[in-house]
């Protein structure tokens, strides 16, 4: 399609396509039907596919994921919505103890093609429990795939791939980018779901991000270019698995790495990236891998979130520190 599509709309169209192509695909969650979701991501789907395909559920997250597991065992492919990041925890037990492990426990006899959609991250001035970034908590669990698109085109394709995956996929949607528009080529043939993308080529330092922070890193690269610095920007797309090969290739070129995410830095995905890249690229690195992210504190009230979230200056500062070694 030639015109630009908002990220939320791209997911909507992707779900529509999935529902059309496979009668076993279901969309489930609180308010996903008549209302079309609180972010309207599922807008119009129930109208067109009916209440048995697009299911308004009781207000019970464990129930949503638990019944989705049962439906998957019966041969369905549920795509469930958790309304907000901070609400996923009642379902965390089902996701971690059941969804993630059942394939292994059955020695491969059972497949659980369940997608758990979670609008996540801050920057929209929301109240408590509506702005969190718990991706590391899921990436730590074997059996789950954890992905996050950064733009409308990826959102469209990654959702297609997630629905087709025979593994459970935790699909983190950057809610602050829901309204950002981009061209979506629905005819394209994308690479594997977990392949990172080089957003911008550079030679002096690599910025690695995913989801909502990719756009910020592009802005950082623009600003740095004004100062005569050439930054490479990598969009990971997937937190588990992580595309270490692409990160390594970039770091071997630029010799410097800064990882940016909204989640708290402590025990976050940046820590894993730093550790592994240090192992892989020890002799290439000119500086320690640096991380920019949230603090080890509860997500703050909306009026403070700009101080909490990585912004242009904090990332530029990290770039400076790296280049100073």
């Amino acid at each position: 399609m030639a015109e630009k599509t908002a990220l939320a709309k791209a997911i909507n169209e992707s779900l529509r396509r999935a529902l059309e192509e496979d009668p076993k695909v279901l969309v489930m969650g609180e308010d996903v039907g008549k209302l079309g979701g609180v972010f309207r991501v599922t807008d119009g789907l129930q109208k067109d596919f009916g209440e048995s395909r697009v299911i308004d559920t009781p207000l019970a997250e464990s129930g949503i994921v638990g019944t989705a597991i049962g439906l998957a065992l019966r041969g369905y492919r549920p795509v469930v919505e958790i309304q907000f990041d901070g609400f996923v925890f009642p379902a965390y037990d089902q996701i971690v103890t059941q969804l993630a492990k059942m394939h292994a426990r059955s020695l491969g006899k059972v497949k659980l093609p369940v997608v758990v959609r979670i609008p996540y991250g801050g920057g929209i001035g929301a109240v408590e429990h509506h702005s969190e970034s718990p991706e590391s908590l899921f990436a730590h669990v074997a059996g789950l795939k954890v992905v996050s698109p950064s733009n409308a085109s990826d959102a469209y394709w990654m959702m297609q791939q997630a629905v087709r995956s025979d593994d459970p996929v935790i699909f983190f949607e950057p809610k602050r980018r829901y309204w950002d528009k981009a061209e979506v080529n629905t005819e394209a043939i994308p690479g594997p779901l977990h392949t990172a993308r080089v957003v911008r080529e550079g030679t002096d330092l690599t910025l690695v991000a995913y989801g909502p922070m990719v756009k910020l890193c592009q802005e950082v690269a623009d600003a740095a270019a004004g100062e005569g610095r050439s930054l490479e920007v990598l969009d990971l797309r997937s937190v588990s698995p992580l595309d270490f090969d692409s990160i390594q290739a970039s770091v071997e070129k630029t010799r410097r790495l800064v990882v940016v995410h909204e989640a708290p830095v402590f025990f976050g995905s940046g820590a894993e990236i730093a550790a592994r890249i240090t192992e892989r690229c020890f002799y290439h690195l000119e500086a320690p891998v640096l991380r920019v992210g949230g603090y080890h504190a509860p997500y703050p009230p909306a009026r403070l979130e700009e101080s909490y979230l990585p912004d242009l200056d904090r990332v530029l500062d990290a770039v400076d520190r790296s280049l100073a070694y």
């Binding site: 019970a60 638990g66 019944t67 049962g70 020695l107 491969g108 059972v110 059996g143 992580l242």
Partner: protein, 443 residues
């Protein structure tokens, strides 16, 4: 480190599921005290309201067996007597057949041969269970969760199922597994520590055991929602215990199943104890009454009466097949042994309680009925004894023959589509293992 030892150290909460409660007080209560307790409770609630409430639910009618010796109705949190109204019973502990206008129709076709079959199932299941307990004591299994005392609840409900129905068990449903045709030796793999499952769930429509209490109630509900979407008349049954009834997942399963009218039967084996906690610590109302608040019938059945369990489960399955939605069955039974082999029931319950329940033994009861109704003779029992010993021997040999899995099984089936990190770590592990081989070879 052996797998067994790991398992032994993992009593898990899973351990706590089935139990239930009305503990010591119930068994010691006399008619007199019950009546006294009942009276104030009655006053507290609008008089006789309990009765109309019962009518409100379909189940109720069925449940209120006129037959049941009427002790006073207890009000809220007081322990329930086994003999209270509402306990469906078709065979007394003495082995006498009790007529029931509502439920007799569901077992009218049960032949003497069928009765012998039910007896055989219970005896062999108990024998298997005893063998597994012994194997644990001998160090062959890391842990075992015995079903001793719950044979009637499991065989009665299990034999009510059709092949195309689907079962979601907890981890003590060895009798149900038996009814599904799952080779009992397959149940032992996870207790020996050679796998975390051990059978193909779709082979016998019997899902893997679930250690996290109550989780499977939601899986059963979702599966049943799928059955309904498929437009078939299969039904789904979820087993859990009185302890699990406290879990949010069970409440959510009740909600979802009611809202979507899912063809699922919730079969709660109230064996009185959730590890050390009696049912009083799980609920202030009899568990079967919970269903009413969710909008579907709940019924309490004598869990030690195989015929009643067969009847009530058939009834509930028929409702499910007819599109009438979920049913909660509370099988009022007793865990004669420990929660698991890691448990010590002497720390929390009295011998008298167990002794009183022994008088209600499900197997003894059916044997008495078989003998008195002349359905069978000594030859049958002797033959079954031989068959039991053969089964025990087979189980023992099969367990001892179970090999530890290949080391690389750690990395198998973590993902269906593969995962780069798993591949990387498998390669690291292989190199590490190979380094030993090289070292050995060098010598």
């Amino acid at each position: 480190m052996t797998v067994e030892s790991t398992a032994a150290r993992t009593p898990r909460r899973g351990a706590g599921s089935d139990a239930g409660a009305t503990g010591t007080k119930r068994t010691t209560d006399t008619t007199g005290t019950t009546a006294k307790k009942a009276t104030p409770a009655k006053k507290a609630t609008p008089a006789k309201k309990a009765t109309p409430a019962k009518k409100a639910s379909t189940v109720k009618k069925a449940t209120v067996a006129k037959k049941a010796p009427a002790a006073g109705r207890t009000g809220g949190a007081k322990p329930q007597s086994v003999a209270e109204p509402g306990l469906l019973q078709l065979l007394t502990p003495e082995g006498e057949r009790v007529e029931n206008a509502e439920f007799d129709q569901y077992v009218s076709g049960v032949t003497p041969e069928d009765f012998r079959g039910l007896y055989r199932d219970m005896v062999l299941t108990r024998r298997f269970d005893a063998e597994a307990t012994a194997l644990q004591r001998q160090g062959e299994l890391g842990l075992w969760a015995s079903l001793l005392g719950q044979e009637a609840a499991q065989i009665g409900s299990g034999r009510a199922l059709r092949d195309d129905d689907y079962v979601f068990p907890t981890y003590r449903e060895h009798g149900v597994a038996w009814c599904r045709g799952v080779d009992p030796t397959n149940l032992l793999g996870m207790f020996r520590g050679v796998n975390n499952g051990g059978w193909d769930p779709n082979g016998n429509n019997f899902h893997l055991y679930t250690i996290v209490i109550g989780s499977q109630a939601l899986h059963a509900t979702g599966y049943a929602m799928g059955v309904a979407k498929d437009g078939t008349d299969s039904a789904v049954i979820a087993y859990f215990g009185d302890g699990a009834s406290s879990q949010g997942d069970v409440a959510e399963a009740f909600t979802f199943s009611a809202v979507y009218n899912a063809p699922v039967v919730f079969f709660c084996q109230n064996n009185q104890w959730a590890i050390s906690e009696p049912t009083e610590k799980q609920s202030r109302v009899p568990l079967y009454q919970r269903a009413q608040g969710f909008g579907f019938p709940g019924v309490r059945v004598d869990g030690n009466d195989v015929l009643a369990n067969l009847a009530v489960t058939r009834w509930a399955l028929e409702r499910a097949r007819a599109g009438e939605g979920p049913t909660l069955i509370e099988a009022f039974t007793y865990r004669m042994g420990a929660h698991t082999t890691s448990d010590d029931p002497t720390r929390y319950r009295h011998d008298e309680e167990r002794v009183s329940w022994e008088a209600k033994d499900p197997i003894l009861r059916l044997r008495r009925y078989l003998e008195s109704a002349h359905h069978t003779d000594e030859g049958f029992f002797a033959e079954l004894e031989t068959e039991s010993e053969t089964l025990g021997k087979r189980v023992r040999e099969a367990v001892r023959a179970m090999k530890d899995p290949d080391h690389f099984a750690i990395f198998e089936n973590v993902y269906a589509d593969g995962h780069a990190l798993v591949d990387e770590e498998r390669a690291e592990f292989a190199a590490y293992q190979a380094s030993f081989a090289d070292a050995d070879g060098g010598k």
